[in-house]
Amino acid sequence: MTDSPTMRRIQHLHMQGIVKRFPGVLAVNHVDFDVQAGEIHALLGENGAGKSTLMKLLYGLYHPDEGRILIDGAEVRIRSPHDAIMQGIGMIHQHFMLVPSLTVAENVALGMKSSRGLVLDLDVVSKRLRELSEQYNLKVDPNIPIWQLAVGEQQRVEILRALYKGAALLILDEPTAVLTPQEVEDLFRILRKMTSEGHALIFISHKLHEVLAISNRITVLRDGQRVDTIPTSEATKLKLAQMMVGRPVVLEYERPPCQAGAESLVLSGVSAISDRGDLGLKDVSLKVCAGEIVGVAGVSGNGQRELAQVISGLRAPSGGSIQVGGRDVTGRPPSVLNTLGLSYIPEERMVDGVIKEFSVSENLVLQDHGRPPYTWGKIFLNFRTIARTCKDAIRAYAIKTPGPDTPVKNLSGGNIQKLVLARELSRRPKVLIASQPTRGVDIGATEYIHRRLLDERAKGTAILLISEDLDEIMALSDRILVMYEGRIVGEVPGGKVDVRHLGAMMAGASLDA
């Protein structure tokens, strides 16, 4: 691989007056952004604020409608990722751009010229990769296929590949979203080493504490516009959150002491087969009492999905038993569970939570449309009641929608989640399974959803909160269970929790160790 663009330095990259329009949306609105060698510049904003779009423009995946990009004072045109790579710009995408069936070396060689012309030179690539991984202390075996690597390792491959291709400027799009706290520390160590060697880094995130921990400067975007750029030394969590949302926000909730009642949800020795065909859930036992929030923490893909599906009746357990309100419901369908007072907020809200072509009001009565008061004589829909209930829900849950007849697909993620919440809570559940309730939801709606969950707790609902967001788990839970490889590997009381301890359990270290 002789032609890899020799590590050219980018002293200063400047994006000026960038505008990008999508049909009906001004995604990026006259944004200025710059980054220098040796610094980490964080790009902070809510979902849909334009962070990813701005960076895709820099990487040549999108093309700006207006504005220009200067590298060390000279204007450059970046028409494709190939152009970006040639300019020394690399990008670590939120969803890794790796081909799972190919090996590490093949993924690195992809799109590069070979030293042997048309024939691949994977041995040469592997050798160089080993040198690089030693230099940066990033352990990766070049000959292993990607699908066999854990998520954190896959990210290391992405970083190594960017370094291999001679990236002087690296864009990291939400790099910590899939990592355990320990892996985040490792990543930060690598990023600091890179800046000390003169790389320029752009760090995209919506997690305030990470941005504060790693960056030198912070730019906040809101609704496609730049709010401000400030040195990290002058930033605080509260100030950043206000810049992101555009109004004062509350980051910590008051949680009255837990008034745990009867055991509302009991799982004993539950196992289940995952979609991959292996045992995704292994001998899980847990209890959730009325008026209690039990958080389930864990890195994505460790059985949380199967757990939520088994309890909500969407996946048949292969062993064990489940009780809701003292009644055995093992293997019963969702319709039965609904009538017993179980509500479910699914993690894939667009797939399992709503029918996206249906209107807001239709989605609000999805389970109960076949029963009075929504029907006349169990046959004809009673549109008047449906419309009235729907209006109440839209008001009560502050769902921003043009009207009850708008198709749900036109709503923002946060508003769709509020709709699901409205529907599930209006059924006055005894047990609530909330799976990733605020993933992809903006700060404002997250705050709202958290408050509603705490309200439900006060009303005596038993809540199982399954989340990959540790901050969320710690802010809301009375007890925290940790899942690893389909098992519950530990339990800690909520409140003051040692994050490192929690992270160690999420990475597989057992509690007693």
Binding site: F96, L102, L110, K113
Partner: protein, 308 residues
């Protein structure tokens, strides 16, 4: 009776009859590995068969016959790529369109330009010196007594495997078929790779047709391929997207074909319809088991869109 059925000539026809399957299925393998399903293979084969035949019929030149088949295959391959890649049409349906076009057009051209079935002198068998004389187990007759296109087809199997597994182009093909977004992010032109693989597939399909009309049968008639191209698509699944697997499937299939010809020539007390059905029934059974353990290109039939 067993000796009457499993003769050296049956195995020789197995090798010979595998030729069109290998050409067409190898071509389809390239397309599918890059994520494009071309169901129009049979139509392209018919056009290749006709143009190859017509060129030989007019000029007597086998080289021109092959060139004509490759050229029409290339053109139809590019047309398929335009519909599947650029226009992002539903591949299952557009492929059927290409098939019906080839079926009707080859028949029309045949009626207008030739009229009644005629034969040409196609590729003659090449007796490979020394090797073709080996009597032991009939090896000479089975392996070393075929026309040129048979050898070309079998030579293409390792060549295709090498291209897919050991070249930068092959790596791009595999990446584009598994994760086009990743390939795009690595600066690869997804559309260009897919155009190239579908064009290769078209050329090999054209050649597959010509191998029937100017090498195996040396005639052209309406629907000469009788659905052979669809079997070739199935063989790609059967062979799990690997050239040698595809060859194995082609041989299994042509073996049953050859056996069926032999059995019907022996006047055994088996209704000939059963013998004619056999290869297809066996294909379906084999596919049911083969398709369970797929290493299918995950982006197969999915058009790529960057979302801008």
């Amino acid at each position: 009776m067993i000796e009457q059925i499993f003769t050296a000539s049956v195995f020789a026809s197995m090798i010979r009859l595998a030729t069109p399957y290998i050409f067409a299925a190898l071509g389809e393998t390239f397309g599918q590995r890059s994520g494009v399903l071309n169901l129009g293979v049979d139509g392209i084969m018919l056009m290749g068969a006709f143009f190859g035949f017509y060129a030989v019929y007019i000029t007597g030149s086998l080289v021109l016959g092959v060139a004509a088949a490759l050229l029409i295959g290339l053109l139809l391959g590019l047309a398929t790529a335009f519909v599947s890649v650029t226009l992002k049409a539903e591949q299952g349906i557009s492929g059927i369109g290409v098939y019906l076009f080839g079926l009707g057009m080859s028949e029309l051209l045949f009626q207008r330009l030739i009229g009644t079935p005629k034969s040409v002198s196609g590729f003659p068998p090449i007796h490979i010196p020394v090797l073709s004389d080996i009597q032991f187990l009939g090896i000479g007759q089975i392996f070393f007594n075929h026309n040129l296109l048979v050898y070309v087809a079998f030579a293409l199997v390792p060549i295709s495997a090498f291209i897919l597994n050991r070249t930068t182009f092959g790596l791009m093909i595999r990446a584009v078929g598994q994760n086009p977004e990743a390939a795009d992010a690595m600066g690869i032109n997804v559309a260009r790779v897919r155009y190239m693989t579908v064009a290769i597939g078209g050329m090999l399909s054209g050649l597959a047709g010509a191998s029937l009309s100017i090498a195996l049968l040396n005639v052209f008639q309406q629907n000469l391929t009788s659905g052979l191209g669809f079997i070739a698509v199935a063989l790609v699944y059967f062979g799990r997207w690997k050239p040698f697997g595809v060859m194995g499937g082609a041989l299994l299939f042509s073996f049953v074909n050859a056996l069926q010809l032999q059995v019907s020539s022996l006047n055994l007390n088996i209704p000939s319809e059963f013998a004619v059905m056999a290869p297809y029934v066996i294909t379906i059974i084999a596919l049911v088991f083969a398709s369970k353990q797929t290493e299918k290109p995950t982006a197969l039939t999915k058009p790529f869109d960057r979302g801008e």
